[in-house]
């Protein structure tokens, strides 16, 4: 059974068939349940999982109709119930029949990992009562009604609604405990009994709450669902029964979450550009990772790979107890291929590659080089690599037709290599270092570069020389005025 907590006041939310057979009912407190069945296995409800399931139901409904809304949560017997109202008016234009519409609804819900029942009626309260009845029959089929076991859809025409509802138990109306006991005392067990009596007289005896029950039974709540503004953020999560320390078992958890997330993204025709992984750890700490993508993505494999890499490169500090995935849905981008140029890597593949390279070498060591607008010798930065749209036709051809002249380039030594230099007549004449040693045959320079003189910590002043060594090396030598030492910046190669 599932409860909403561990304490003495924890209420039962849902029970298994075996527990139900032993007399345990939703709404009972944990001590009551333990008194009936001491060896029962208790699991704590996961609010994040419930919330995600409700949102998934809404996503399924909104993928078929523009007007759908989540039913308000109830208490008591139907505390764990999740329901969504769907406006099914005018569906004939899109679906062959109402039963075909219900079949599609079932199929999409199955893909999102939700099993439920569908009831179509003239009002939302009658539809909900019918759905509750179907759900009850699906769990506890009557011996005489074997055919009802597989019934997950019921379409009621207005004429047959009363006949269908009349024999149903009064509990389906979800009365509070006091009203339910009073109705039982009066001998009112089914909806038929309730509808036969005058609501005004009953309300005078049992209170105004009873009028709501009558309105539900009569199907007076018939306003269509409101068109809710679509929330673009999606959330999937799970509270783990036991903390997980290793990545391998965690990947199974990710698989379930990601498959549901991608299914919801598909239902909404959205993609994800940034995935946020929130982790609740066993030591009470919380950690999060942000996984960015170059383009909106719906591919579960890409998500799984990136999640794995994110945890591999930056493992959590303790075992994981709760996993939540959040993503902001954005419209999908269609890839436009160029007719004249070779195709580059797909955005998803590129994301995956960059994430993997960042995991291998470190995120700060992978990217596009950028020459900084700075006088400091060799100043550069790395910026995140992204596939830039290639240049088109004429420019490329013009570029191809220009014969290239090779330029002398420098192999940088980072950090610069210490060197010993002998000076003769104001110029370097001999050098000793780890990469080159000997007489300096030719030299050019010095070129003085100074900067940041206003700040002591970053101030620099260097003299550069280009020198040719007797061993053939051509080096860029520099004298650092701040450190008062010679060093080799790079090798011309």
């Amino acid at each position: 059974m599932i409860t909403n907590g561990r304490g003495f006041r924890a209420q039962t939310l849902a029970v298994s068939d075996q527990a139900f057979a032993q007399g345990i009912r939703p709404g009972q407190t944990l001590p009551q349940v333990r008194a009936v069945c001491p060896e029962i296995e208790v699991r704590i409800a996961s609010p994040v999982l419930e919330r995600a399931a409700r949102e998934a139901m809404l996503d399924v409904a909104l993928s078929l109709t523009p007007r759908a809304e989540l039913a308000e949560r109830t208490s008591g017997l139907f505390l764990s119930e999740g329901a969504v109202y769907v406006d099914a008016s005018g569906i004939d234009a899109l679906h062959a029949s109402e039963s075909a519409f219900a079949s599609v609804l079932h199929a999409r819900a199955e893909r999102a990992g939700i099993r439920g029942v569908v009831a179509l009626a003239s009002s939302r309260s009658i539809a909900r009562l019918t759905a509750r009845h179907l759900a009850h029959l699906a769990r506890f089929p009557a011996a005489s009604r074997e055919e009802a076991f597989s019934e997950t859809t019921r379409i009621l025409s207005p004429k047959e609604e009363l006949a269908f509802l009349s024999p149903l138990p009064i509990d389906l109306l979800d009365p509070d405990d006091r009203t339910a006991q009073a109705l039982t005392r009066f001998g009112i067990h089914c909806i038929r009994d309730l509808l036969r009596l005058s609501p005004r007289d009953l309300a005078a005896r049992l209170g105004p709450e009873l009028l709501k029950l009558v309105a539900r039974a009569r199907g007076e709540e018939n306003e269509p669902p409101l068109a809710e503004p679509r929330v673009m953020s999606l959330e999937e999560g799970i509270d783990l029964e036991l903390p997980i320390e290793n990545l391998e078992p965690l990947s199974f958890v990710f698989r379930g979450l990601v498959s549901r997330l991608t299914e919801r993204l598909t239902l909404r025709s959205l993609g994800c550009v940034e995935l946020r992984l929130a982790l609740g750890l066993a030591n009470g700490a919380r950690e999060s990772r942000r996984i960015g993508m170059a383009s909106p993505c719906q591919d579960a494999r890409v998500f799984l790979r990136l999640l794995r890499l994110a945890l591999e490169s930056n493992p959590p500090a303790a075992a994981i107890e709760r996993v939540t995935l959040l993503c902001e849905g954005v419209p999908l981008r269609r890839e436009q291929l160029d007719f004249f140029l070779p195709r580059g890597p797909s955005p998803n593949e590129l994301d995956q590659t960059l994430a993997e390279l960042a995991a291998i070498c470190g995120a700060e060591r992978v990217g596009s080089p950028l020459v900084l607008d700075d006088h400091r010798p060799g100043a550069f930065a790395l910026k995140p690599f992204s596939e830039k749209k290639p240049r088109h036709g004429k420019n490329v051809e013009a570029h191809e037709n220009v014969p290239r002249k090779p330029k002398l380039t420098l192999r940088a030594l980072r950090p610069p290599l210490r060197a010993e230099v002998r000076i003769g007549r104001g110029r370097p004449v001999f050098l000793r270092s780890a990469i080159s040693q000997g007489e300096i045959l030719s030299s050019a320079g010095p070129w003085r570069t100074t900067g940041h003189w206003w700040e002591k910590s970053t101030h620099f002043a260097v003299d550069h020389y280009d020198v040719q060594m007797s061993d053939g090396n051509v080096l860029r030598l520099c004298f650092d005025w701040k450190a008062k030492r010679w060093q080799i910046d790079g090798l011309y190669d």
């Binding site: 007719f339 140029l341 070779p342 195709r343 580059g344 890597p345 797909s346 593949e349 590129l350 590659t353 960059l354 993997e356 390279l357 291998i360 070498c361 060591r365 992978v366 990217g367 596009s368 080089p369 020459v371 006088h375 060799g378 550069f380 790395l382 830039k388 290639p390 088109h392 004429k394 420019n395 051809e397 570029h399 191809e400 290239r404 002249k405 090779p406 330029k407 002398l408 380039t409 192999r411 940088a412 030594l413 980072r414 104001g426 990469i435 080159s436 030719s442 050019a444 010095p446 070129w447 002043a461 280009d466 040719q468 053939g472 051509v474 005025w481 790079g490 090798l491 011309y492 190669d493």
Partner: protein, 288 residues
């Protein structure tokens, strides 16, 4: 063979879609003509010819159709360096889907040649990657060589293992036309990084299934028989000019040490010109 005439019923739509349609119709209409009696390769070449005509023929103007087709096919197989003499020596450039190596002593122009190849490749609007084991890549030099750094992925590996794993991953990505794997070590410049032969074999096999040129930069030839071609760079002299003197150029020779399809031993003289830097004005200050 003259280019296939466009079908008047189609109309001359602008853009690539129109071009593709015209070619298809042209080849269909030319097939039944008994006078041509052309074989399958000639049909393909006529389609290619028509494609070149339709695309405007800005390039290769004035050359024969068969030569144009040949050159187009070459551009699909080779990644040119942009240095005509070297490209001729290599038979068109560095072959796609193959492992190549540029080796040589320090200051022999290995990096300059690699950057020239990189600039030429990036200039075509494609992606390239530089895997840098010694952290020696100088972005300023790359810009001076004409590289568009926006399309360059720089991977600063810290060990051979990281460099090889990064290289494998990039090859699997299938979208980088050129990957330069710089395994020249930082310190012990004479000598080379010890990468096992089986690693080169693995990389060569991975490269074979891609449209990528993998170029290894090393001190001494390290890829062995796994490389399609090995180009050895030999330093000649550094040229200093003027008074006070300036480093003007590095004279080197590229020797084709190994090639599976071209005669080896060919030598190409190259001159790597130093980029004049505006701030490099001689200054004999009295700071000392």
């Amino acid at each position: 063979m003259p280019p296939a005439s466009p079908d008047p019923s189609v109309g001359r739509a602008c853009g690539p879609v129109g071009a593709a349609r015209r070619i298809r119709i042209g080849s269909m209409t030319s097939a039944p003509s008994a006078s041509s009696a052309s074989s399958a390769p000639s049909k393909r070449s006529s389609a290619l010819e028509a494609l070149l005509v339709d695309l405007g023929s800005q390039i290769h103007r004035g050359t024969s159709a068969s030569q144009r087709v040949e050159e187009t096919a070459d551009s699909l197989r080779f990644c040119p360096t942009g240095l005509p003499a070297l490209d001729t020596c290599l038979g068109g450039g560095f072959p796609y889907g193959r492992l190549a190596e540029i080796c040589g002593a320090p200051s022999s122009g290995r990096t300059s040649l690699a950057l020239t190849l990189l600039a030429e490749t990036l200039g075509r609007g494609v992606l390239a990657a530089w895997i840098d084991l010694a952290d020696a890549f100088d972005p300023a030099s790359a810009v001076a060589a004409g590289s568009d750094l926006e399309r360059l992925l720089w991977v600063r590996a810290r060990s051979e293992d990281e460099a090889l794993r990064s290289c494998e991953r990039l090859l699997q990505t299938q979208g980088f036309e050129l990957i330069i794997l710089d395994v020249i070590p930082r310190q012990a410049l004479p000598g080379s990084v010890a990468i096992r032969d089986v690693s080169w074999l693995r990389l060569a096999r991975l490269t074979a299934s891609t449209h990528t040129v993998l170029v290894v930069l090393s001190n001494a030839s390290t890829t062995g028989a796994r490389a399609e071609l090995v180009l050895e760079m030999r330093p000649l002299a550094a040229r200093f000019v003027g008074s006070p003197s300036l480093l003007d150029a590095l004279e080197t020779t590229a020797v084709l040490r190994r090639h599976r399809k071209r005669p080896i031993g060919q030598e190409i003289s190259l001159s790597m010109d130093a980029e004049p830097e505006p701030h490099r004005l001689p200054d004999h200050g009295e700071m000392r």
